[in-house]
């Protein structure tokens, strides 16, 4: 099978299928009079079991997480709620139907009640009821708890799609590789896989139908190939390739701790993007000069309340201290359709990518935003912290965010809480209006950070998660090159730095162009740092500038790809990736 090679590397192992909730069909049948008592007993037993399960989870919850467990108490109480428990029992008896069917009817009715509510907070409480009914349903149907957190052997995950919430539950040391039906190179799964250096092939369309549990599978994330039930020869060949790839990785890593300087002496900072605090180690391992993008959404996910300021501060401080004086760029909460926060996600948005997300959400919920800002300022007392506001599309947003940041600093000063209020403030340039207004915005900030993934999505109108159009998503689009150029020029005129933290920065072939355009700092998945540093050392900034002049004369992605390939393809293939270069994926349109 051929898919999109989303994270390089090879792995061989057994498949583990992750089913999707809601796909399961609920059994529906009638119950005759004699068996009614048994059916209600069956329902009561399922509820009792659910109640015991919740009690067990609560007993395991350490004291400091009590805030979380009181929602579990609410769930436990919901199990016996009249409108749920009482009603299901009544329906079983009056309509003479099986418990699953009755439960489904009741839960659908309750969901409809909540859906009509105008207050989004209360509307989302439907989720609490859902979790409770799901739990009862699981006990009724006896289907094993599909909890990917419980995987106990090293497997290759096969799923239709993995949401960030799913991936955050996975014990990643148990996962050898990822295979999904949906998703593209820039999807969330792909980013996670690359960060953790787990091979991944995405966008296979029908992998979940073709592959069965425990099938032996080879995943070649470099070329995007998946082989099911390989023959002995194939298995041997891939095993050999896998060993070669790992030794190459080890070798390239050793030189990575040295600074990256071009042949003509330009020093380039190469930083890592992280999502989980634990990934800091990976950044240091790969020789990163700092954190260029710390995505902070994870602490808000998979929970029913908001993290406290202290909880956030504690995590940020960990990251800052481990980085020991190297810059840590904390991006404030960027929730969107892809990363729905359980507590607040407004599922009624038809177009979440263009909806209430990131800075818009934060400015609308200043209390939530401010507790994060306070946590960032407090963590800043322990090292070198920069703050980054996402999805900025107007000047007012920067000003409003800065005002709240100043307010947070004043509050901390008044409360005599240790903090550092003089930190660089930057914005993500990822909305086309920010590119156009860069000359205005530049006066309000200390640095720009170009997020190429979203900028391409918004400028070219391409949903990067849609396999039908994912191939159109290409950083070497003439429009993108012109946008990056404009932002860099404006920044340098005002004397501020411009960084890039999108996937574009993670491909060595783009390095000369980006240096020529004047990008001061590149940030990427930690695993890509060594290759990028190696590339920087082999090129010169002057050549990069000449390349930009040539690139500006070309008007098609295909021509630009050819230009880069002719100028640097050999170098990347032979010197950066060594022999692995031969297998380097050709992703040309």
């Amino acid at each position: 099978m051929n898919g999109i090679g989303a994270s390089p590397g090879i792995c061989i192992g057994k498949a583990y299928l992750v089913e999707r909730e809601g796909v399961r069909v609920i059994p529906q049948y009638e119950i005759n009079g004699r068996d009614l008592a048994a059916e209600t007993t069956r329902f009561k037993a399922a509820v009792k079991k659910a109640s015991d399960e919740i009690a067990a989870v609560m007993a395991e919850t350490p004291d400091e997480l009590r805030g979380n467990s009181s929602i579990l108490e609410a769930h436990k109480a919901l199990l016996k709620d009249k409108l749920l428990y009482g009603k299901v029992l009544t329906i079983i008896e009056t309509d003479r139907i099986n418990a699953e069917w009755a439960l489904k009817r009741v839960s659908t009715e309750i969901a409809a009640m909540f859906a009509q509510m105008s207050d989004p907070y209360f509307r989302d409480r439907a989720e609490d009821v859902n979790q409770v009914t799901d739990r009862i349903m699981r006990n009724l149907t006896g289907s094993r708890n599909r909890n990917i957190a419980a995987i106990d052997k090293r497997v290759i995950l096969v799923a239709r799609d993995l949401s960030p919430a799913d991936t955050s539950q996975i014990q990643l040391e148990r996962v050898k590789g990822f295979i999904t039906d949906k998703g593209g190179r820039a999807s969330h799964t792909s980013i996670i896989a690359r960060t953790l250096e787990i091979p991944a092939v995405l966008g296979l369309h029908n992998a979940t139908q073709t592959i069965r549990n425990d099938d032996i599978v080879i995943v070649d994330g470099t070329s995007g190939v998946v082989i099911v039930h390989p023959g002995e020869q194939t298995l041997l060949a891939y095993e050999e390739r896998r060993a070669r790839y790992e030794s190459y990785r080890a070798q390239i890593r050793r030189r990575s701790h040295l600074p990256a300087r071009t042949r003509d002496g330009l020093s380039v900072q190469v930083l890592g993007n992280i999502e989980l605090p634990e990934e800091v180690v990976s950044v240091l391992d790969h020789g990163g000069d700092g954190i260029g993008l710390y995505r902070t959404e994870f602490q808000y996910m998979n929970r029913s309340d908001f993290p406290s300021e202290f909880e956030l501060y504690d995590k940020y401080r960990d990251v800052v201290e481990v980085m020991g004086g190297r810059p840590v760029t904390i991006r404030t909460l960027d929730i969107n359709g892809d990363k729905a926060v359980t507590l607040e996600a407004d599922r009624s948005e038809t177009n979440p990518a263009l909806g209430l997300r990131a800075i818009r959400y934060c400015l609308k919920k200043p209390e939530i935003f401010k507790s994060q800002l306070r946590a960032v300022l407090r963590a800043a007392a322990h090292g070198q912290v920069r703050i980054l506001f996402p999805m900025i599309s107007s000047l007012e947003e920067i000003q409003a965010a800065r005002r709240l940041l100043e307010e947070a600093a004043r509050e901390l000063a008044r409360e005599k809480v240790p903090h550092q209020h003089e930190i660089p403030v930057g914005i993500m340039v990822e909305v086309p209006s920010a590119v156009i207004l860069a000359d205005v915005m530049v006066r309000e900030v200390n640095f720009f950070s170009i997020g190429t993934n979203d900028l391409i999505q918004y400028a070219m109108a391409i949903d990067r998660g849609n396999p039908d159009v994912a191939h159109l998503f290409h950083p070497l689009h003439p429009a993108l090159i012109r946008m990056v150029r404009r932002v860099a020029q404006v920044a340098h005129q005002e004397g501020i730095e411009v960084h890039m933290c999108g996937e574009m920065a993670a491909d060595p072939i783009h390095v000369p162009l980006l240096l020529g355009l004047g990008i001061d700092e590149l940030s990427m998945a930690p695993a890509s740092i060594p290759a990028i540093k190696r590339m920087v050392r082999m090129v010169s900034a002057a050549d990069g500038q000449a390349l930009v002049q040539d690139a500006l004369k070309l008007n098609k992605v295909r021509d630009l790809v050819r230009l880069m390939d002719e100028a640097y393809g050999q170098l990347v293939a032979q010197k950066v990736y060594g022999e692995m270069g031969q297998e380097r994926e050709k992703n040309d349109p």
Partner: protein, 96 residues
């Protein structure tokens, strides 16, 4: 029968959310007769979390707690106290 009902405001920042509703319902379930909670959105059975949640009462909303049976007066009083204390989750008593 004035003393079988009490009107008051929801003071805690999160309003009558799931946990608060659960605590309220737990008390209401001890009552002999029915316990009601009335807001501008309508009337709900205080013993049902789901019913209470569907009233969607944010901070500042006005609600009336009502009992059918005079024997439940101590229950009404406990519920009133709980609402007035903001379900023990007012700023300053839960935060770090």
């Amino acid at each position: 029968m004035e003393d079988l009902a009490c009107t008051l405001h929801i003071v805690n920042p999160l309003g009558l959310h799931a946990r608060a509703a659960a605590r309220l319902a737990a008390i209401a379930q001890e009552a002999v007769g029915a316990v009601w909670i009335q807001s501008q959105a309508g009337r709900a059975d205080a013993a049902s979390i789901i019913d209470v949640l569907t009233l969607a009462c944010p901070q500042g909303s006005r609600v009336t707690l009502e009992i059918d049976n005079p024997a439940d007066r101590p229950i009404l009083e406990r519920m009133v106290r709980m609402v007035q204390n903001g379900f023990g989750e007012m700023p300053g008593d839960g935060h770090e």
